[in-house]
Subunit: 249 residues, 2 copies
């Protein structure tokens, strides 16, 4: 479970940690060994540092609390996401960009499936960890929403659109991520997340980047469909007519 | 702040509480008086029961913890929402139904603007209350998602659609609710939430129920627009073409 904690070159926090990887990794490894053996609540920070062979102050140098050792990489991932969104330009389609930002979270989980599945099971069992995870998800969602609010500034319903799209993207990502975690990390998490994010994107009228030869072939089809609608019709009704014409559900 | 706690005929929990409204209301009133005077963290349960003139056991009969007294009506509202969704039939359009369920939350806040605004300010200041609120929002979102999962059972991407739509509806509702709370409860919260939920609904191809004479007039317009598209075109691209044709942004 150490590789994900010490991945180099992923922003300042990762590099600061990379200077002393062994102790941080040893603490995470000791903590999870004890959580799995005797349960999260029954494990104290003293137990963890005893097994890792370090002092209490070393633990708290890396982790503000026992909960934080369960999610050792989220701060780095949040920093990566913020940097990624901050480096965006006008040339980036905003909804595509937040989907790509969400993929950073998937990548963190997929880097170490065994650890991610263990943590998923642990989190489901401990209400305090579930609350902690909700606060982490909320911070990701706010990072995406703040970026979209900037991009939509001055547009009608800009903050509303930003908040709704950010929530939809996070929900789509997490739907696919949780399915993958429930399957014990089997299957292609990237493909599942791409599919889920594609659904979210298409809901907001944005093109998912082509992901497969089949989809690219779809773009080449030359059949023609004609839809006739009243000009004053609300957009949702036009979309319904088109869906019916195209034979989508 | 008492009217919302004792509103009768709103499900079992409300009626059970309605049998002894004065003590529960007195505890909420005492708690908020102290939270506002000396701060949330500096107020103990002992302080609250001393001011309300009751014993500690009375407090814990109504509220499992000090945090729960800050959100005295969410359990009732969650029960109302679950009952409302459980009473749905096939005749209810699912996305419209979850929007109507979300309106139950708005109604609870709008019943007592002064109390809602006080709580909003308090929650922003106290991280523990913010975490509590996130867990409450999560439970609302799961109630909506579980209902949609049942309605979408057997449909392609049913759970994905359910989770994404539930998240979008909650985000739209909360965007409007927070704007109203930030404005100190001024303005028409119901109209703002209707508008926000209408955006979420239209994103998923569902008709918002008509809310105004103008919108009804829109439906009567008889101009015609013709859109020509390749049959194989992805839906998002067809929607983009239509939006351009109709002159929407």
């Amino acid at each position: 479970m150490s590789s994900s904690s010490a991945a180099p070159g992923r922003g300042e926090k990762a590099e600061a940690v990379a200077a002393k990887p062994p102790m941080r990794e040893a603490l995470v490894a000791a903590a999870f060994q004890l959580f799995l053996e005797r349960g999260y609540e029954q494990t104290t920070v003293d137990d963890i540092v005893a097994l890792a062979g370090v002092g209490r102050r070393s633990f708290f140098r890396y982790f503000p609390s026992k909960e934080d050792v369960v999610f050792p990489d989220h701060e780095r991932c949040l920093a990566d996401m913020t940097a990624f969104l901050g480096a965006s330009g006008e040339e980036h389609e905003p909804v595509q960009r937040v989907c790509d930002a969400a993929r950073l979270v998937l990548r963190m989980y997929a880097e170490n499936p065994t650890f991610s599945v263990q943590r998923y099971r642990l989190t489901k069992q401990v209400p305090g960890l579930r609350a902690y995870e909700l606060s982490v998800v909320w911070r990701y969602e706010r990072a995406l929403a703040e970026y979209l609010r900037r991009r939509f500034a001055g547009r009608r319903d800009g903050t509303l659109r930003a908040d709704v799209i950010a929530a939809a993207v996070v929900a789509a990502h997490n739907n696919a991520l949780r399915s993958w975690l429930r399957s014990d990390g089997q299957g292609d998490a990237t493909a599942a997340v791409d599919h889920a994010l594609g659904y979210a994107q298409s809901s907001f009228g944005v093109a998912p980047a082509p992901r497969s030869a089949d989809e690219a072939a779809d773009d080449q089809a030359e059949d023609v469909v004609v839809v006739v609608s009243r000009r004053g019709a609300p957009l949702w009704r036009v979309v319904q007519e088109i869906e019916t014409t195209l034979g989508r559900d």
